[in-house]
Structures are given as structure tokens and as C-alpha cells.
Symmetry: C2
Subunit: 365 residues, 2 copies
């Protein structure tokens, strides 16, 4: 597929324009755009500006309420439960993590669960909010049930990503990963390339391991059974129950503690209901935070410098690729495929944005 490079500031201005036209305030548009742009700059394009179109559909269908305000429905000095009232996920996520950071700064640690929200973009954005302030940040979310439990043939859990971020030098520790073996986007890439997916990625409507990406995706879309497998694949032998367990931990921190909808009940028709979980820990409650962060930095350095497997010249630590990629993409632009530009153009017409004023130099030239 044709891919063009778009400068980040162009995408940024386009997103701000579109969210304004969706009806969001400037400060809310700023938050949502920041979350999307970070994904693009980190190379997680599936969660970047290409989501604009899906958010537009969500707003049009009523699943996402532009005017919703987060409501604290339970609170202690170390915790809160927030009802998102079907608002935009990024706004509820940003509000939840901000509150969690505020509480952790006072109490040393805190947790916040959010229910009745929507897709919040990359989990890592919120974890990074904490680590940018010298704290440990944890962020997770449940999501539409497209993952089967071990030995199941019906998708009952979401891809349920968990992110964990902590300051370190020269790269912060930044881990952000679905608890499923891959996300839906990976299946879409294989379908477009007309290639089978690796064994252990998905199961068909009978719960049998299936390497046909189209069949798995069509089944997911039709809710016909089957789905994506947990990290660890299909069998206990390869650790399927471990990925399934990790997904359950995410479910507990998001939907269970908030009494929200579990993944299997979210995102059906015009019902969103996505739930998020946040935790923040101030390293200072364990001693000298500088010494602790240095200790992590030293270990990460040892890992990067440790002997490489034959055929590899680099061992990465989590967060390194993101930092390196961000610097490169800020200079060179971010990848946007032509299909996404087409969708953005259609949407622009619908909301009255001047698409060509942003993308004339890259669109089908």
C-alpha cells in the first residue's frame, strides 16, 4: 500500500481542526490530539490519527458523547472511581490519570478506575504522564471482546493492553503491550498482504487454530465465534493461560474495581462502556528516588550491552525504540497510508474541514 510521510505538525493542526468541528473545546481537542500524535510518533499508527475516522463514527452513532464530563463516584485519599458517562476515552483517561498522579503525589501511591468510557488510544500515553513527572505509571484498559480464553471458542476478553512506565536514562522504561498475542491491526496487515498469520495467533469459529487472517477477522466482525489468542497462543504448553491471566488482571483493574462492564459486554452497538485502570507510585516511598532510577538505568544498560544472539546486533530495552522513533519521525514525518488519507478526506467533507489545505502536497501527487 502506498504510504506517504506527513509532518507531525500538519497532522496535529488537522486533528485540532477536526476535533473542534466535532464540538470539543480547544483544551479537550489538545488532549485528544496529543494522545493520537504520540502514537503516530512512536510508530503505533493503528492508534494514531488514522483513528479519527472511527472516533467520528463513534460520535455520529452516539456511542461517544462529546459533552460528557467525568464524575467521581467514589473517592479516598489513595483511590477514585470515575464514571465517564460515555465520553471520549482520551479525556476520561487523561482526567483519571491526572487525578491518580495528584493523589500519589500526596499519599505516595494511588489507583483510579474509570468505567463507562470509550477507546482511549495507546495505554502508554497515560503511564508516560506519570513517568514524565518522575513517578511510576501504570495504565490499562479493557476493550471489545475479540480474544478467546484458553480452550474457548467465543471471544470473552479484550486485547486488554497494559502499560508500565518509569523514568530511566537515557531511555525511560516504557512498556505498552496488548495481553493478546497481537492486536487486530496485525491481522489486517496479513490480510492485505494475502499471507497466512503465524500459528498461535488466532482461532476459527470452532476454536481451532486458524492461520487465515480474513476468516478470523470476518468472524470477529460478524461475532461468529473465534478470535485472537492470548499471549502464549493456543496451548498451555506455550503459555496461553499466562496471557489469559494477564488479560484478567487488566480486567480486574479496569472493569471489576469500577463495577463497569467487562470486555464481553462492552462496545456492542451504540454502547461503549470501556473501562480503564490507572496506578501511580512515587519511587520516593522506597528511598532516594535518584538512586532507584539510577539502579534501573544501570540494569537497562547491562541488558542492552549483553551478548546478542546470532543474527542480531541489538538488544532493546522497552522504551528505546519509541524514543529513537519519535526523534526520527519528528524530523522525517510520520507514515500515513493512502487509504487513511482517503478516509480522512471523506470525513473532512462531512465535517467541513479543508482537507487539501493540510495534505495537498502528499495526497495523490
Amino acid at each position: 500500500m502506498a504510504v506517504v510521510k506527513v509532518q507531525a505538525d500538519v497532522l496535529d493542526r488537522f486533528c485540532m481542526d477536526v476535533f473542534d468541528r466535532f464540538g470539543f473545546s480547544e483544551s479537550d481537542s489538545r488532549i485528544i490530539t496529543d494522545v493520537l500524535l504520540l502514537a503516530d510518533l512512536y510508530g503505533i499508527e493503528s492508534h494514531g490519527a488514522q483513528r479519527l475516522v472511527r472516533y467520528h463514527k463513534g460520535i455520529a452513532s452516539g456511542r461517544i458523547k462529546v459533552d460528557a464530563k467525568p464524575e467521581i463516584i467514589h473517592e479516598t485519599p489513595v483511590s477514585a472511581v470515575i464514571d465517564g458517562h460515555a465520553g471520549m476515552g482520551q479525556l476520561m483517561g487523561h482526567y483519571g490519570m491526572s487525578l491518580c498522579i495528584e493523589k500519589a503525589k500526596k499519599s505516595g501511591m494511588a489507583m483510579v478506575s474509570v468505567r463507562n468510557s470509550n477507546h482511549y488510544g495507546i495505554a502508554g500515553y497515560y503511564a508516560k504522564m506519570a513517568s514524565d513527572q518522575g513517578l511510576i505509571g501504570i495504565s490499562c484498559t479493557n476493550s471489545e471482546a475479540i480474544v478467546t480464553p484458553t480452550f474457548g471458542k467465543k471471544a470473552m476478553i479484550g486485547t486488554n493492553p497494559l502499560a508500565f512506565a518509569m523514568p530511566a536514562k537515557p531511555y525511560p522504561f516504557f512498556f505498552d503491550a496488548a495481553t493478546s498475542i497481537v492486536t487486530r491491526g496485525k491481522f489486517e496487515i496479513y490480510r492485505k498482504a494475502e499471507e497466512p498469520v503465524p500459528e498461535g495467533w488466532g482461532v476459527d469459529e470452532n476454536g481451532k487454530v486458524c492461520t487465515d487472517p480474513g476468516r478470523v477477522l470476518d468472524n470477529i466482525n460478524a461475532r461468529a465465534g473465534g478470535g485472537i489468542l492470548p499471549l502464549g497462543g493456543a496451548y498451555e504448553l506455550t503459555g496461553s493461560h499466562k496471557g489469559y491471566g494477564n488479560a484478567m488482571i487488566v480486567e480486574i483493574l479496569s472493569s471489576i474495581l469500577s463495577l463497569g462492564l467487562t470486555s464481553n459486554h462492552t462496545n456492542i452497538g451504540t454502547l461503549g462502556g470501556t473501562c480503564h485502570g490507572f496506578a501511580v507510585i512515587d519511587p520516593a516511598i522506597f528511598g532516594d528516588p535518584d538512586a532507584i532510577i539510577q539502579h534501573l538505568s544501570d540494569y537497562l544498560e547491562e541488558l542492552r550491552e549483553s551478548p546478542k544472539a546470532d543474527g542480531h546486533d541489538k538488544i532493546y530495552t522497552h522504551g528505546q525504540k519509541e524514543v529513537e522513533g519519535l526523534a526520527r519521525r519528528k524530523k522525517e514525518g510520520v507514515d500515513v497510508d493512502m487509504k487513511t488519507l482517503d478516509e480522512m478526506k471523506d470525513m473532512s467533507e462531512y465535517v467541513g474541514a479543508d482537507f487539501m489545505s493540510y495534505f495537498a502536497d502528499v495526497y495523490r501527487k
Copy 2:
């Protein structure tokens, strides 16, 4: 290999006898024995009474100090760092989790990190201590570096298990798993059976995927390179970086926050240095704890009742197998293999315990 059934109370009395002879007080022996017996009753025999012999060696070599007392070296209302002074892991773990529970009951949540400890048995024991009291318990530990980071050929991380327990009915949620794809014990089983291990379990001294369990184990023992792979196997395509990331989270919660030794520096010669991490959350800080626990119970029930993949008649939720297995093993006895009994007999002679008074009816009859 020949396996015999031993009644749990017989193993219990034998362990108590042996730990007394090692020099532990009755209350300390009680704690250590409880941790080992729970592993046996849960069917995790590798972490049960068969560890006695290794603990004996640890004590004899000086790696484990029988008289060590845990020392709190940093403390806040929601946290503590404990120096284990090379004491028995179970005692340091029990002390750390007890302190964490006490703090969480007052503050709503708490975290404790322990450094300079030793192998503490199953991570889940300590998480269960919290869930038995209506709380959410998290327990993790680093360990001897026998796991390679993604694209590495030198073991730099431990099998680093993480356990998460929360009350639910009829089975509590109880997740306890290494962040590596399997543990060393699984390789030993394949070596004994003279069968290749599945691809994606281990790498050889060059970092190449290796299905020869003996080669991987010999390399590990000789510190000759290679090792076990993280959950997700050898490739990013199968999620290797995710298991590696989960192992890093465990490392942060245990060795980094406590300024203890990271896995790659522990358990070398007579140096132990293992670190543990504990966290406890009172569900009541999120609302009505009964409603929250019921919400989890309902979801677990939905998972168990959801459609099964072809060829399977059960979907398990985490903790179910353990509860069912415990009831069965309390009645039928726990599995002990003859080789373990041989080792126990040798050790008994060494410490002066009357082996045959415990095992005459099962030993080579």
C-alpha cells in the same frame, strides 16, 4: 519415574522435623512448611517439599542464614523496604507480605520490596495471604538469571514469577506464573523423558532456538550461554518482547525499588540476594467490596460457562485447578517421586531425622 502418594500431614510433620533440625524455631518452621505444602497441594511439586534438599544445601553453603532477621530499612505509611540479611526466603516473604497487609488495612493500599533474601517458594502463597483476608494481593520475585532477553544469548533475567490473587466465589482468582515461557522444571521433565522441548522454549549458547532440553540445561548450569525464553518465545512475532517486559516489571517491583541485586547478579556461588515485591489493595477503597467481589465472581462464571473449543470440555479460570486439586490431594495424598524420596533420605541421615518413621509405607515397598 516411579511416583508415590504421600499424605499431606506426613509431609507436613517431616518438614517440621527437618526445619527444626536445620535450626529454625517452631513458628518459623511452620511458615516455611506451610509455603512448601501449599505448593504440593496445588500440584506445583517443583516448589514443594522436594525443595527441602536444595534449602539444605543453601543453608550448608552459607547462602541461607537460619538466624537472619528481616530489617526495615525504609518505611512510610504505604510502603517499606526490607533487608532480608540472607535469610530464608519464605520467612522474609511472609514478613514482607504481613507488613504489606497491615499497611494496606490502614491506608487502603501498600507496597513492600524485599532485598537480600532467598528463594521464597511459590509466589502465589503470599498473594493468597492477602486474598484470604478479603484483599487483592500481588507477589513477585526475581531469581537466578536463566532467561535470555529478546535477541540475547546470555541469560540476564530470572523466571521472575508474578502472582495476583483476589477473592471470588466459588473459586478465588489466583494467578501465579513465571514470566518466562516455562520454568527450568519443565525442561528437566523433557530431558528425563528424552523428548525435544517445543520450539520457542529455549535458546542455545549462540542464541539460536534449541529444542534439546539437555543442552539448554547443561548450558544454564555451566553458565555457558543461552537459556529459557520469555513468555512469547524467541520472536517479536510471537510476543517475546512482551514476556521480557513482564519480567522487567517484576524486576522493578522487587530488585529496583529495594536497591537490591537484579537477577543477573543474584544466586552466584554462596551469594543469594533474591528480591521480592509485594502489593496489597483493599477493594473497599473502590466502593462496596462485596459488590466488587461479586462482579468478579460473575465474570469468572461467564468465562467458565462460555463455549468451548472443539476437543475441550472445560474453560478454567485461574485458581480453579488449584482449589480442585487441593481438595483431591488432601484426600488422596500428594505426588512425590522416588528420586525425591531418595534425596530426602540422604538428607535425613545428614541431619539426624528418622526418615523411615515417616515414609516406611511408601518407600520402595
